[in-house]
């Protein structure tokens, strides 16, 4: 499974606070992108302007859905991290850097990473982020499903993203083993986990 690469350090006392501040979020993402080369043999870079714009669009989503935290905290974080993934992908905040010396780690299957470096890097980062946040804020351990290693799911993800950027929220749910709302993934009121 490709999710066992840890780049968000355990000593960060409040990961959610770090994720909701541009300066600290950028630091975490930079560190993660740097680790992609050694872990998967791909290089990705951050477009800081696109990252800033996407982040502040997402900040409005956080403010608009604050009430949901009291109702279903784990799904609140799941939904918001998925929304952040959607905004960053939509803004092309991370992109692949072609390198001549790209070499995969011998022990690791990196076919998905090579096929879609930016999407793979961002999705992996968000999975780690939501795991840490839900662990810290809700005391619950969550992890990705087997679909994360299925390249056909990734192909479908990338194809559908072109037409509907918010579909990233549904794929992110799917990767985390949550029943996605494929029709209106950005609508909190229609989430399948609201009553859970």
């Amino acid at each position: 499974m490709p999710h066992d690469r840890v780049t968000i350090k355990d000593h960060i006392p409040n990961v959610w606070q770090a994720a909701t501040r541009l300066s600290s979020f950028k630091e975490l993402l930079v560190e993660h992108c740097r680790s992609m080369r050694s872990a998967y043999g791909v290089s990705v870079e951050i477009d800081e302007r696109a990252l800033t714009s996407a982040f502040f669009v997402w900040a409005q989503t956080v403010d608009n859905h604050r009430h949901y935290l009291q109702q279903n905290a784990p799904d609140y974080f799941q939904f918001l991290v998925g929304s952040l993934l959607a905004e960053l992908l939509k803004a092309h905040a991370v992109s692949a850097v072609p390198r001549l010396d790209d070499e995969a780690s011998a022990a690791r299957d990196n076919s998905i990473a090579r096929w879609w470096p930016a999407g793979f890097a961002l999705t992996l980062f968000m999975i780690e982020l939501v795991r840490k946040v839900i662990s810290q804020e809700c005391g619950r351990i969550v992890g990705p499903s087997a679909k994360l290693a299925n390249i056909k799911v990734w192909q479908s993800f990338r194809e559908n993203l072109v037409e509907q950027p918010s579909i990233a929220i549904a794929y992110f749910d799917d990767f985390m083993g949550i029943v996605p709302n494929w029709r209106n993934p950005s609508l909190l009121s229609e989430r399948n986990t609201r009553g859970v």
Partner: protein
């Protein structure tokens, strides 16, 4: 009969303010001389086909006007003596928009301090507009000074008792966002940016909003930077130009909400909320 002078009527016989007014007069003269149609600087970007046509004769007096403006600027600086540092080139270096809000709230009588902040805002605004792709810009520093003075004189915390005034520190998000929202509206209201000349199409180098409404765009951006710097200075980039760039990207992503705040029935309240909503995520 109303005076035709560019010097505002209410300006006190104060050396600093006279100097600002003189410098602004000279800036306007120089800007006009640089941007008269047909002059070398104004036709630099004409196409080669246009250039093949005979140019109209250059007005002979324009060069003299430019020299006069420079002389005026020099005279104003000299006249002010050593009390005031020369400021006209401050924008050529990165400008840190750092405002001590507690001082600002209580400094209406300290014209030198207010003028220092005017100079910072003038330099930051000019540097930002030029780096955003403008070919030239005319900003009236005395209007920035007026806005700051008006803000200081009208700030509600000034009317509180001495004890209460001393407890005010202006470093909580709510306080700082309220202060910078009011200061920003005061600046926008006075339209210090009189003209900004962009030769490129908007959105190529600069966003439409900056080209169409430079006062709103620039002073919202500077207000946001001032607010963030007073509350969370460590979260901003060390390079002042990077900070302005970051703020421009934020303003771009929140444009609709910021525009709505300016149009609101109570703009100070709505803008305070928007500034606070942004800065907590910086």
């Amino acid at each position: 009969m109303e005076a035709k002078s560019l010097i505002p009527r209410h300006i006190a016989p104060d050396l600093n303010q006279v100097r600002i007014a003189l410098v602004d007069c000279a800036r306007q003269l120089r800007y006009t001389a640089r941007n008269v149609p047909g002059t070398e600087s104004a036709t630099t970007r004409t196409s080669s086909s246009q250039a093949s046509f005979a140019r109209p004769p250059l007005p002979q007096f324009l060069g003299s006007v430019g020299h006069l403006a420079d002389s005026l600027l020099e005279t104003a600086e000299t006249y002010a003596g050593h009390a005031i540092p020369p400021l006209q080139d401050h924008w050529k270096l990165p400008v840190t928009v750092g405002v001590d809000v507690e001082c600002l709230v209580h400094c209406a009588q300290d014209t030198k301090l207010v003028r220092g902040y005017s100079a910072i805002y003038y330099a930051a605004a000019k540097r930002f507009v030029l780096r955003a792709g403008a070919k030239d810009v005319l900003i009236f520093e005395h209007r920035i000074n007026d806005a700051l003075m008006a803000f200081c004189e009208s700030h509600p915390l000034r009317s509180t008792s001495e004890d209460k005034a001393h407890t005010f520190v202006g470093n909580t998000l709510e306080e700082a966002s309220a202060i910078f929202a009011r200061l920003t509206l005061s600046l926008i209201d006075r339209h210090p940016i009189r003209s900004a000349r962009f030769d490129e199409l908007p959105d190529v180098l600069a966003p439409w909003w900056l080209v169409a409404e430079p006062n709103a765009y620039v002073f919202l951006l500077l207000g946001l930077v001032g607010c963030a710097r007073s509350v969370r200075p460590d979260s901003l980039p060390a390079d002042p130009d990077e900070t302005l760039g970051l703020a421009a990207d934020i303003v771009g992503s929140r444009e609709s909400k910021l525009r709505a705040a300016l149009r609101a029935a109570k703009p100070a309240e709505v803008l305070q909320q928007e500034f606070a909503a942004i800065v907590k995520y910086v």
